[in-house]
Symmetry: C2
Subunit: 339 residues, 2 copies
């Protein structure tokens, strides 16, 4: 039960205004989660997902206990085989006796419910394994929501003692790519075929990648895709000391999954030896603080630049009755901020 928390997820909207005392009290849940209570972990992530003051309290309590987990992002187009690859990696990790937390941000992921039967069956192998905790995250309605909620959810898993956290996101849209890129190691999954590498480039995935995996490499075109990726990397990236390896895999049979895991290990050693891991994490925290500040102010601007009144102002601007600065000043004055 505790290893299959999807039932505790966004579906768990029982209509109560807030968390029940005790059951939903972060002050009790955080130590319980750290002590190995998986149900507590699931409840904490639900609180994070819902936002508001309880989420803030979870953040305050988990943050001092976090900073130990190594995070691996797995991203790529829908259907690229991210979950199957994640499943393969989980097997390797478990075979080595390590515990692992998984966050599925991808709405098409079988981990988050949109499964075909085969995937569900594989999933259930992990559902009875207390060393694996899998959790889906839903988009929260507000600006920057998921981008800001994900690091908080990672910290819940981190504080609960998972030494490794996998974050699976679908690599479409800036927010998803950003989330995947905010891991210690980011794995980008593509499929054979010219279009996929191009889509990955368009989506900004090339810049986020520490490792490329051409999955479904038994299909025609894998070599060409590797060449395309190599060319696009040369064309678009200023490669530093780490050149992202381009690996091939057939995740459904397990072929090449070992090599992916080895590459993750090599990247981790690289970051450690270059002194980049601590620096990356500090700069991620700095980005997070800036993102929270910006998000608050953006929400402010968003609230200000909408509605009938705003569109009335725009009509007057288009008719040259009101200049853009006067319109902006009116927007800021009405919303009472930014002055």
């Amino acid at each position: 039960m505790s290893a299959d928390p999807t039932g505790q997820g966004p579906q768990d909207h029982s209509g109560r205004a807030g968390p029940t005392r005790g059951r939903g009290d972060p002050a009790q849940l955080v130590p319980a989660a750290a002590g190995g209570d998986r149900t507590a972990v699931a409840r904490l992530i639900s609180l994070v997902e819902r936002g508001g003051p309880p989420a803030r309290q979870v953040g305050r309590l988990t943050f001092p206990r976090s900073g130990n987990a190594y995070t691996v992002g797995i991203t790529g187009a829908p259907g690229a085989g991210k979950s199957t690859l994640a499943d393969g990696l989980i097997r390797l990790v478990r075979a080595a006796g390590q515990e692992v937390g998984v966050l599925a941000i991808d709405p098409s992921s079988p981990f988050s419910g949109g499964a075909i039967l085969g995937d569900r069956v594989r999933m259930q192998d992990h559902a009875v394994d207390p060393g694996v905790f899998i959790r889906s995250m839903a988009t929260r309605g507000h600006l920057g929501g998921l981008a800001l909620a994900t690091p908080e959810a990672v910290r819940v898993l981190d504080a609960a003692g998972f030494p490794l956290v996998l974050i699976e996101t679908v690599g479409v849209g800036q927010v998803e790519v950003e989330i995947a890129g905010e891991a210690d190691t980011t794995v980008v999954v593509v499929n054979p075929g010219w279009g996929d590498a191009v889509q990955a480039n368009k989506a900004g995935l090339l810049e986020a990648a520490d490792i490329f995996v051409i999955n479904k490499a038994d299909r025609p075109g894998a070599k060409e895709t590797a060449r395309d990726l190599e060319m696009m990397l040369m064309m678009t990236q200023d490669l530093g000391e780490w050149t992202p390896p381009i690996l091939t895999a057939v995740a459904t049979t397990g072929e090449g999954v070992d090599e992916v895991w080895e590459a993750v290990g090599r990247h981790r050693v690289f970051l450690d030896q270059a002194g980049l891991l601590a620096r990356r994490r500090s700069s991620r925290l700095e980005s997070e603080v800036r993102a929270i500040v910006s998000s608050r102010l953006e929400q402010h601007a968003y609230q200000a630049c909408r509605g009938e009144e705003f569109h009335g102002l725009l009509s007057r601007v288009a008719a040259r009755q009101l200049d853009p600065y006067a319109a902006a000043e009116q927007v800021l004055r009405t919303s009472g901020g930014g002055s």
Copy 2:
């Protein structure tokens, strides 16, 4: 004198706190500019450039008189030959008896002072022509400065009755590309050679382009560059009804400049017939209002996320003594905004 206003530019810092009454009063300068007084035009742009309340007043006064000029952006890497192409276009426009205003945002442009002798000589042809007004714009120190100042300067020229405004920007950096992209027609200038097309792609110029010009096409590699551009367009763009033509030119000899001007005309007709011109302009005004609102709030965030206090907070976050939300809240509280 009046056609060579570079002496009225950012160099004109006489140390006075504000504009002199009369000489610098927008209420007198705007009607004078509209009546053909080029010195008034130059002074108005200086006021716009300096910012502050006089710039706001210029904006208020020019805005109702604007909306008639057609704007053409010319952008590309430094040394691509943008100014030489602009010079060729100015000749064509003048030969047709039309007046033209030119804003040079490119710090390497001969129009803005960083010239080689040949360019200066050509420039001086226009300096004695009252039908051409050339003005450079300097970067103002604050966030979003030039991006926000340029449309204001365009409106000064527009209100002064120029039916055509050329905006030359160097296509490096997001702001410059944005400025060039905010014209009715945007011309992107590249040179033969693989690297240039790639740089243009990296800089985001491909998306901004309505017309490509491969200048210096007498050098080897022009055909390959055209092919590269075509491929990159296919790879990265969702082409709508307008497919940017890829032209070749040797601006120094005038070869191909006619074709560029014809393509600008075709694009203008296309925008008109598709009903896109009015829509583009309205949406540009909407973007401008949003940009002003965002810029105010960003300045707010920027002011908040700096200084000793901010870095002290970050150290405490890195040491896990303070969580990112608490840090952000403290930033916002200290700066007194966004709440």
